[in-house]
Each structure stands twice: as structure tokens, then as C-alpha cells.
Symmetry: C2
Subunit: 300 residues, 2 copies
């Protein structure tokens, strides 16, 4: 299961209703922070998340509303006596950004920070999942991310197993794990005889900030949950394009093309005090759309 | 009148109870922000302060808990379409810090930012007040600040004026403004004949972060309100000295030597969930001590 907590859902201007866009992704005991605008560490506390479970910080791009909280977040990990190394994964330029903080702020950390600069490909390998990135279209080097679980074994067909004469018990488990088994009769049963087709792993994609672009559609391909830049409504489509963003309807169109299951509109401009306009414009294109709110929790 | 709003009262680790130390100082229509840790702009909103009234930002030193919110604050002013120039006044190094943000974050502002690097002296001149700074003792270049009003005219002695035969009316006003007046009898009356001694202007001093030091005592000299680094209690006096901070009792001792009227303990370590220890240790030395809380308002 993948759990997601929206730490912030707003665009560049943080407000008391919408902090800068940031999410926590949890896969079992592993936590990932995606983007870190100002105040993210306090939202992390409000959400009751554990700093010690953090495995990596992913930064989409070096605009203030996605990174202004990073140095404070890293310092707070130090003040919490972290010693475990931490991966900081972002676009080209993030290494220089950290170097400047070390120089100008005397930033010193109690743990090793492994800074990785990426453009595409797998950037984190978990036990049975991975995180991949690709480059979006935002005017500056910007990454979208997808957390994807390994495919799982197909459903176990109990009836088929029984009709093959397999006794319920340990042999069921072995077949479910993909091992072939030998019955007392000497007959060998292959897993494929009792298992349905492999089931795709769960997938969550995060594409913020971006104009409509093919790489976002690819990252969101078949995603169970797609978080997409929805800064503006149809009233500001031209401005969205000019400023490197998407409208809610454009996000919905990407969700359709990606064959995503659910869409979460995020990075909402502060001008939309009432987000119903954005939701209705998205739902008209892709019914399974909703708008992110700060501290909202979702499971996939 | 000087109004003060505590935007944050905590030390390096921001919590939901205590944001990083930061205060807003208001002198009539002029607003000043002193220090700008992460989340200060949201505290500014919570306090109902107007971004448009901001005249200058003062930064004590370049440690993250005093400056991590600055870039976001400056960007928010831009997003609010500010065009009036803004003074950013801090210690040496702040110019390079801003230069790095312009380089790494593509920081662009809609207004002119006048960055001044200072060590001591008057750094801002208002209509009838000024802000001065001096260098504190914190291991890195750190400024303390004092906002001081001009001395005001002495009290008008109505009885003395009447006994001199001055008719109530415009002549009273002229004398109060410091002008000599000529009566119908031809007699000349000097202001000093009807005015008490000039009254000192109000004074607020902010000395954070610092070990006990003479420059802090000078800045707080005769202050109506003295905000002072009180990171630790008597239990951690040695640690305070080693880390460049003061204890609450040391802050109180500075207030005594400065002849201050009131002391506000601020920059409280997150380990003191209950601040009563700090208050009682300070009060034992200087009775007019209290502890700052986030969003507390005080007038002088």
C-alpha cells in the first residue's frame, strides 16, 4: 500500500489555507518527501509524520516555492540527531544550491547527504518498489516522479488448486510465491496452473510544475493516483502556458491519455479561494478528479 | 507608540508552539520585520499585518533559523506586486546570500532591494525615530538592534503659564512646539519657563542571538522593552556559553545593568516545553521579566 499525505497544495504564494505544494509518500516503513517549500517541516509535524522514517527527499525544481523549506528541513533532521545517510534527489543545479547553503549559512549536518542530480530514469530502488523520474516542461530543469511497486503475483485460484488435488496448506503458499510443487502422487504443478495473470504494482505519479507534456503522461501511465499541476482554471489557460503551468482541465486531459485511475489537482493558485471551478472543469474531462487540500490523506 | 508582535519565539528548532524567533515592530504607519526564519510570512499573515506597510527587513545574522524564511518573504512581496523599494539591513555576508539566491533560484523581484551590510551605528532614519545596531557576541557576525524615538518636549505646566499671564489658546501650542512667544504686554516667554525637562523617546532593543555582552547592555540602555536571547535555563549555562547564547538569568542580569523597564525572554529552546523555569530564573534577577509567546502583542 502507498499512503500519501498532502503537506501543501498551493502554488507560489503560500497562504494559511494552502502551503506551497509538497507531499509525503509512504511505502510501508519508508517515507519520502516530495518538494519542500517554506513551512513543510511544520506541516510534516502537523501530519504526525516521523522524521526518522525519511529515506529520501525529492525536489522537482529549484523554484523557491518548491525548495525554500529544504535547508530548514535538513537542519531540523540534524537537530533531531539523525545519523543515517539521506538521499537528496533533484534536477541539475541542486548540488550547487546545497553548496551555497553550506557556504553562506555555515550549514553543517550530522548525517551524510547524498545529493543526486537527475534528468530521467530510476533514482531510488526500494525492496519491491522504485522511484523513477523524467523531465517535465516548466522552463527550468524540472522533474516529475513516479513511485511504482513491483508487479505482484496473480490471484490464487483455490478451486483450480483443489481440482488438481493439491491439499490446502504449505503447498498453496509455495505456489503463491511462484514455486512449482510436487504432489504425493509425483505430479508436478506449476504456479501458472493456479495463479491468475500477474497484477501490476500500484503506481503514484507527481508532475508539478509543468505544462501539458508527453513525459508527464508517460509517468502517469496506468497510475492509480496522478498528482498534477493544476495552477489555473480555463479562464487563465493562456497564462498557464506562458508561465509553464497546466490548467485543471489540461491535467484531466493528461490523466485521460495516461489511463490513470484517479487525478488529484494540486499546486492551486491562491486566487482560487473556492476550488469548485477547477474541480468542475477537470471532472468534465476526467470524472475521477478531486482537488488536494492541505493535510489530506490518500491511500492507494 | 511602538507596537511589537512576536512572530516567533523559539530557538533553532521550529515547532508548532514556537516558530523561529522573529518580531514585527510598528512605529505609527511604519512596519519593520526583525529576523525571518522559516514560516515568518505565514505568521505575518496570522498576525494580520500588512505587507504594504513594510519599510525594512532587519536580519541579525546568517543562521538558518533567522534567515530561512527571507527568500520566500521577499518573493511574496513580489507576488503582492510591491514596487516600493525595500531596505534589507544585516551583517556582512547578507549581500552574498542574496546574490546566491538570485543565482540558484532565479530570484527576481518587482521592487528594488537595497541591501546594507552593517556592524554598528544608525541604519534607518524615520521621521522622528531611528534604528541603530551594534555587534553582539555569537561566534558569527551578529547584530543587535534598537529602535529609538526622538526625545519629546517636556510636560506643559498650565499653572505656570497662567501665572505668567499667557492666555489659553494658540500661544500654548507655540510654546509646546518649542517656540518663544510675545505677550500683548510685550513680555517674551521662553518655552523653558512653562515646559518640564524633555522626556526621553521610547526605546525597544532586540539582542538575539548573543552571549552576555556589553554591546547588548548598551543597546538596551534605558529601554522600555528589551528582547533578549534566553535560549537556556540555569541548568545549561555552560552549554549557552559554548553555543553563543544566553540563559534567561543572564538576560535578566543584562536588563538590570541596562536599566531597562521590561524584559521579554525570547529564542526559547524547544526543550523547555514549560517555560516557567526560565521565567522564575529571570524574575529572581529582574522582576519585570516575562516570556515571549508566538503572536503575543506588546505596546510601548
Amino acid at each position: 500500500m502507498i499512503r500519501l499525505v498532502v503537506l501543501g497544495s498551493g502554488a507560489s504564494l503560500p497562504t494559511l489555507q494552502r502551503h506551497n505544494t509538497s507531499v509525503a509518500l509512504q511505502r510501508d516503513g519508508d517515507l519520502f518527501l516530495v518538494d519542500c517549500g517554506e513551512g513543510t517541516q511544520l506541516q510534516w509535524r502537523r501530519a504526525g509524520l516521523r522524521f526518522s522514517k525519511l529515506r529520501a527527499v525529492l525536489i522537482s525544481h529549484l523554484h523557491g516555492d518548491h525548495i525554500n523549506g529544504l535547508i530548514g528541513f535538513l537542519q531540523t533532521l540534524s537537530l533531531s540527531d539523525r545519523t543515517a545517510p539521506l538521499d537528496l534527489l533533484g534536477p541539475p543545479g541542486i548540488r550547487d544550491y546545497i553548496r551555497a547553503a553550506r557556504e553562506h549559512l555555515g550549514l553543517r549536518l550530522t548525517y551524510k547527504l547524498n545529493v543526486g542530480e537527475h534528468s530521467d530514469g530510476v533514482i531510488y530502488e526500494g525492496s519491491d518498489y522504485r522511484i523513477a523520474c523524467d523531465t517535465l516542461d516548466h522552463g527550468v530543469a524540472t522533474l516529475g516522479f513516479a513511485l511504482e511497486e513491483d508487479a505482484r503475483a496473480g490471484r490464487f485460484d483455490t478451486e483450480a488448486a483443489e481440482s488438481l488435488g493439491i491439499p490446502a496448506g504449505p503447498l498453496f503458499g509455495a505456489l503463491q510465491r511462484g514455486e512449482s510443487v510436487t504432489l504425493e502422487s509425483g505430479k508436478v504443478v506449476e504456479p501458472s496452473e493456479v495463479l491468475g495473470p500477474p497484477r501490476a504494482g500500484k503506481r503514484v505519479a507527481y508532475c508539478v510544475d509543468t505544462r501539458p507534456t508527453e513525459s508527464a503522461v508517460r509517468l502517469a501511465s496506468g497510475a492509480n493516483l496522478f498528482l498534477c499541476d493544476s495552477t489555473f482554471g480555463n479562464d487563465l489557460t493562456e497564462e498557464a502556458g506562458r508561465r509553464g503551468h497546466s490548467t485543471a482541465a489540461q491535467a484531466a486531459a493528461m490523466a485521460v491519455r495516461a489511463g490513470a485511475e484517479r487525478l488529484l489537482l494540486i499546486h492551486i493558485s491562491a486566487r482560487y479561494h473556492d476550488s469548485r471551478q477547477l474541480v468542475s472543469e477537470a471532472v468534465a474531462v476526467f470524472p475521477q478528479s478531486r482537488v488536494a487540500e492541505d493535510l489530506m490523506e490518500l491511500s492507494v
